[in-house]
């Protein structure tokens, strides 16, 4: 089983590479060097704040776009093109296929983010000529961004298992946007009364809490990230992604291929 998961994940990674998904790194590099040069005029501290904010936001957005647009096609494209027939007629279980696909895209995103992380640190080095201890928190912020990708990828997979690719992309994007304000929604739920309270609380718990995973601006200010938050976020993201993935598996197990 582990072997088949690895094979499917590796093939998904290979597909992403050959479909030139990693070419987004070029755009990212251009953006980053442009920003580093442009803000070069301002004082060092502001400069750093801007570069960290801007680059980490870009890492997150680039990755989310990949997670959604590749994620919605992971399984639905294989059904549509019927490439799945000759895979599922082998000793591959349907859940192995879904989970393998998920890990393949997750690996792609980790590699992509890793390359971007190198770029971010090069930019930091370029503006302040040395790395300082608070810069380590940038790594934590990047780690949280990867956790966000896991959630978004699993959601894209879930939506694409029962709706059209376009609708799936819309749903996934909407959830990403709302999820980024999940904390505000929770605040609203706490204040609301009666039925609104229940509805808002239900929504607040269903929606992925992506705002807790966003520590970009506090890291940009050089503030540390609490160890408890790292632990909480890790458990939360893994559980959320696992639930969404299980939903996708449950739907896919029942499905008649066309």
């Amino acid at each position: 089983m582990r072997n088949r998961l690895t094979l499917i994940a590796a093939n998904t990674f290979r597909e992403a590479v050959r479909d030139r998904v990693l070419y987004n790194l070029i755009a990212f590099a251009l953006l980053l060097s442009g920003a580093a040069v442009l803000v070069g005029q301002i004082s060092i501290d502001i400069e750093k704040l801007v570069v960290i904010n801007l680059s980490l936001t870009a890492v997150s957005l680039f990755g989310v776009v990949i997670a959604i647009f590749v994620g919605i096609g992971l399984v639905s494209k294989e059904i549509e093109k019927r490439t799945l027939y000759t895979v599922l007629s082998r000793p591959v279980r349907r859940w192995e296929f879904i989970v393998g696909k998920f890990f393949g895209l997750a690996a792609t995103l980790v590699v992509n983010t890793g390359c971007m992380a190198v770029g971010v640190f090069l930019a930091l080095l370029y503006i302040s000529h040395r790395l300082q201890k608070p810069d380590a928190w940038v790594l934590v912020a990047l780690y949280f961004i990867v956790l966000q990708f896991l959630i978004v990828t699993a959601l894209a997979l879930l939506f694409s298992s029962f709706s059209s690719p376009i609708m799936s992309a819309v749903f996934a994007f909407a959830l990403f946007m709302i999820g980024s304000f999940a904390e505000d929604l929770r605040g609203f739920a706490a204040m609301a009364k009666g039925i609104t309270h229940w509805l808002a609380s239900a929504a607040a718990y269903l929606i992925p809490n992506l705002s807790a995973l966003n520590v970009i601006s506090s890291v940009a200010h050089g503030k540390p990230v609490a160890a408890s938050l790292i632990l909480y976020n890790t458990v939360y993201a893994l559980c959320y992604a696992a639930m969404a993935l299980s939903g996708a598996v449950l739907i896919f197990e029942q499905r008649n291929l066309k």
């Binding site: 290979r14 597909e15 000759t86 007629s89 000793p91 279980r93 291929l257």
Partner: protein
């Protein structure tokens, strides 16, 4: 132990608004294929051949019945390591080369990495693709993809091979090669179950055939047994000025070219036909008994009333 047992497999598709339109793609089907057989699954377009194969592969779920392959339920994961499947109009990951695809599939089928490369090479050679093994599949022609499809179906040396229209899209050499390949598989002790429209292929290859039409089994057996049940016919060729009226009513098919006439009639009508020719003073040139072909049998089974299969409830 039979290689394939189809136990009342049945499929209904629901379509339309409120899922009210019902399409019976396959009526409960019972069929047994013995180990080591080449079994042909015949039927006109839309008969339900592909649907049956997809249910056997667990790609589509039956609305009723079940099936066993090598004594195990089709959903048993152990079955999958022992079967090969060529889908209809196969399509593969087009970013891979033929070699990469087959290596990937071999590993998915549980072929150990050490043997995998050897088996891929052999399969590529068997379907005549060894020269394009490094080419990406997006650059393959239809017939080349069909060959890749056959290669992936036999690569891991499965005990039972399912082929959905294996000859489609192939050139004449390709067809001949696939025929030889199927026979080779049989002599290696494999069971082959294939669907086709090409009756001459079925006649030449199959130990037994089944014919389905509009989702219903119309006949199953060895080609010789099936055609033996049909009326023997006689072909007459004669020379004359006109086609006698009585011949016209007796003959199933008649052809004319200049003053030569040719007609195929039932054997029991032979004397009446000869009388008619004699009466009209025509010259009989030849009288040949013709055995019924699989095509005759097929057409007879498939002809009766095309009653609508779509009903609204």
């Amino acid at each position: 132990m039979p290689a394939i047992e189809i136990l009342g497999l049945e499929k209904t598709y629901w379509g339309g608004f409120w899922r009210k339109r019902v399409k019976r793609a396959l009526h409960p089907l019972r069929l047994t294929v013995e180990e080591g057989e080449i079994f042909g699954f015949l039927g006109p377009n839309g008969a339900g051949k592909t649907t049956t194969l997809k249910m056997l592969m667990g790609l589509v779920f039956p609305t009723g019945g079940s099936a066993r392959i090598l004594g195990l339920d089709v959903n048993d994961p152990q079955v999958k390591a022992q079967i090969g499947y060529l889908p209809e109009q196969p399509y593969f990951y087009d970013y891979l080369t033929a070699y990469e695809l087959l290596a990937y599939y071999g590993q998915l089928s549980g072929v150990p990495a050490r043997q995998c490369l050897r088996k891929v090479d052999r399969a590529l050679k068997q379907v005549g693709l060894q020269n394009v093994s490094g080419l990406q599949l997006r650059k393959f022609s239809k017939g080349m993809l069909q060959r890749v499809g056959i290669a992936q179906a036999i690569l891991h040396e499965p005990k039972v091979v399912f082929l959905d229209e294996p000859m489609s899209g192939l050139d004449p050499m390709g067809r001949r090669e696939v025929r030889d390949l199927i026979q080779q598989l049989k002599s290696d002790g494999k069971t082959i179950f294939f669907s086709t429209h090409i009756l001459s292929d079925a006649e030449a290859l199959c130990d037994r055939v089944a014919i389905i039409h509009q989702g219903e089994l119309k006949g199953v057996g060895a080609v010789a047994d099936l055609t033996a049940k049909m009326d023997v016919k006689v072909e007459l060729i004669w020379q004359g000025a006109v086609m006698p009226l009585s011949m016209r009513s007796l003959a199933e098919r008649c052809y004319s070219g200049g003053d030569l006439y040719r007609a195929v009639i039932k054997q029991e009508d032979q004397e009446r036909a000869l009388d008619a020719l004699r009466r009209e003073g025509m010259r009989l040139l030849a009288l040949t008994p013709v055995g019924a072909s699989l095509e005759d049998y097929f057409l007879q089974q498939v002809k009766p009333a095309d009653k609508p299969v779509e009903v609204t409830v």
